[in-house]
Symmetry: C2
Subunit: 391 residues, 2 copies
Amino acid sequence: MTTDQDTPLGDPSGQSAGQEQVVISVDAMGGDRGPEAVVAGCARTVSENAHISLLIHGDEAILKPLIARQPALAGRCTLVHADGVVTMDDKPSHVMRHGKATSMWSAISALKSGTAQAVVSCGNTGALMAVSMLQLRRMKGVNRPAIACLWPSRGPHGFSTMLDVGADIKAEAEDLLAYAIMGATYFRNGFGDALPRVGLLNVGTEDHKGRAEIKAAHELIAANQDFGRYTYVGFVEGSDIPSARVDVIVTDGFTGNIALKTGEGTARLVGDMLRESFKSSFLAMLGAGLASGALKRLSARIDPRRVNGGVFLGLNGTVVKSHGSADAMGVAAAIALAAKLAQSGYHGRMAERLVIAAKAAQDAAQDASPASAHPTTPQTPPGAAQNGETE
Amino acid sequence: MTTDQDTPLGDPSGQSAGQEQVVISVDAMGGDRGPEAVVAGCARTVSENAHISLLIHGDEAILKPLIARQPALAGRCTLVHADGVVTMDDKPSHVMRHGKATSMWSAISALKSGTAQAVVSCGNTGALMAVSMLQLRRMKGVNRPAIACLWPSRGPHGFSTMLDVGADIKAEAEDLLAYAIMGATYFRNGFGDALPRVGLLNVGTEDHKGRAEIKAAHELIAANQDFGRYTYVGFVEGSDIPSARVDVIVTDGFTGNIALKTGEGTARLVGDMLRESFKSSFLAMLGAGLASGALKRLSARIDPRRVNGGVFLGLNGTVVKSHGSADAMGVAAAIALAAKLAQSGYHGRMAERLVIAAKAAQDAAQDASPASAHPTTPQTPPGAAQNGETE
């Protein structure tokens, strides 16, 4: 948390976006491909980003030779030994009680102590969230932290973001409001979009559809749009996630996780079918050969490794969950994302908005019957004037 | 309901699968493309299927000239006049109270009275379900009827089925058990698969994950697999929906609807990006031209019109909801599906299993504490021995 300005990621005009040094703490023992892929990703990161240095956490006996094999890492990383490993099958509650000696715990501790500015892990998502919550604590006003993912879309920035995609299996109306605020702040800082469009995922776009908590959230998110600096477009459906209609899709972690994985599975199926088609005849093979440049560009555009990294929002610190099956390129993308976020300093402004929104939601709930007729308008955030924010 | 055998759809050895005549009741006034597309779909159906004749419901002044323009329909359909139209914005509760004069109501009445063997509508899904429930009533043992859709997959039959995709916004454990039984019966009859593989949609495949009702359903569905004639593969994730791992995906209507639309939206996005890529250079255009045969076959394989039709399960009668934006080809596919289902006579066997499963679920719920340790095993269905079923 270096600043509370909403600076677009990668915007060279921001005070934090130059080549200021940043230290990222990497849990090297998680992930389906083992430490080798993570260390290769680390090497890729430092060779592409002169301002990033790394703390690499895990078993010294395994990591030392892997690091030695990567000349790019020489002088750019510190190995932090940890005996234990969190496996994909470990229950989060078990890791919280008995996981102090693991590489995951060690990686998060470095962020807590201030040695590093962000954490990246490819490990067990549930455990990573549990240990992060335990060590970093939730931001004030946040009951349920969320995981945000990026999604290729037809929107102006080529991506939408969706949250929660799996931190929790349920969300109340006030959690969904917090997701709207956190998602909008994340998107604004990620893409330099002053006024992201927020939509609430539902089974239809008519006002009368959906579950009770979603209808309540519909009112709350609409009432807070000025102050939260987003435009609320109302309910959106699954087909809208990759559309040009919306930038930030708000939903509970159960629905979001299933939507995310369904989208990934469908894209993979279509891709596989396409490859099969191209092998079906000589003409098709010839055609695919001629179009190979275009096909490679398409493949790169929807390559999930490019947008690898679920960002944990609502914690006092930046934690990025890299996909369990990420290769070196995917790990490098997740580390670069963590560095950008840590340097953008979006945390301060987000924290301020969340506290005010939580109070507004509470007032709306107490303001029993006319809640839907007269949505509660929160006070102007005190920080707005002090910071001379003009957007 | 002509028989209670589980006869595969389209299997010529079944008693019902010959060219026995069938009458399908079509609501011609729903749908985004208006009655013209529906009537064109009707014409396409009867010219391709000598054994299907139709009742076409709607405004005579509009439909008469449209029907006259389709020579194929001469002598193959009866026009049933109805003044009213259910619009896409009408609330289901409103249509239930005031919708008696609509084409939708009229179409369902023909099924109720026995004049037709199945109903097809492109109209408002919520209203169609509400009026169907009101007129046809739920099967015994079914608390929440469901809508089942087909999904292109890597499985042995090229499709999986998912339910519920939008009949209700929630489902308890016993509803999810009913969906497993109904989905397995539908899939068995649709694809001649003796033992469909059922999976329960969740955010992870580990036993400890998910919401309470899903954990309870996990036990119930596992305990009923022999009797329900399916194999339970346990929890599946969004990415498994189009996979070779599972044939029937069970979930609540909120999650299922969002997964379905997310999958459709993603497939459309990838398709659009592919088309754009092919236009990006001269070589790419040339390649696409050479591969056009293969690309057309791929496009046909994932064309949502081919598998158009959400089937309402758990009602005393076959109702097929065609996609609102279906064209003539889509409408024809939905009518053909309705005819196949009506003639397969899967309803009887499904009804029997549902009653027994409902009792088993009730017993499991009463059998308080050891429910998860000792899943309730239902009795052998009485029909099994009587019918000399060998599968």
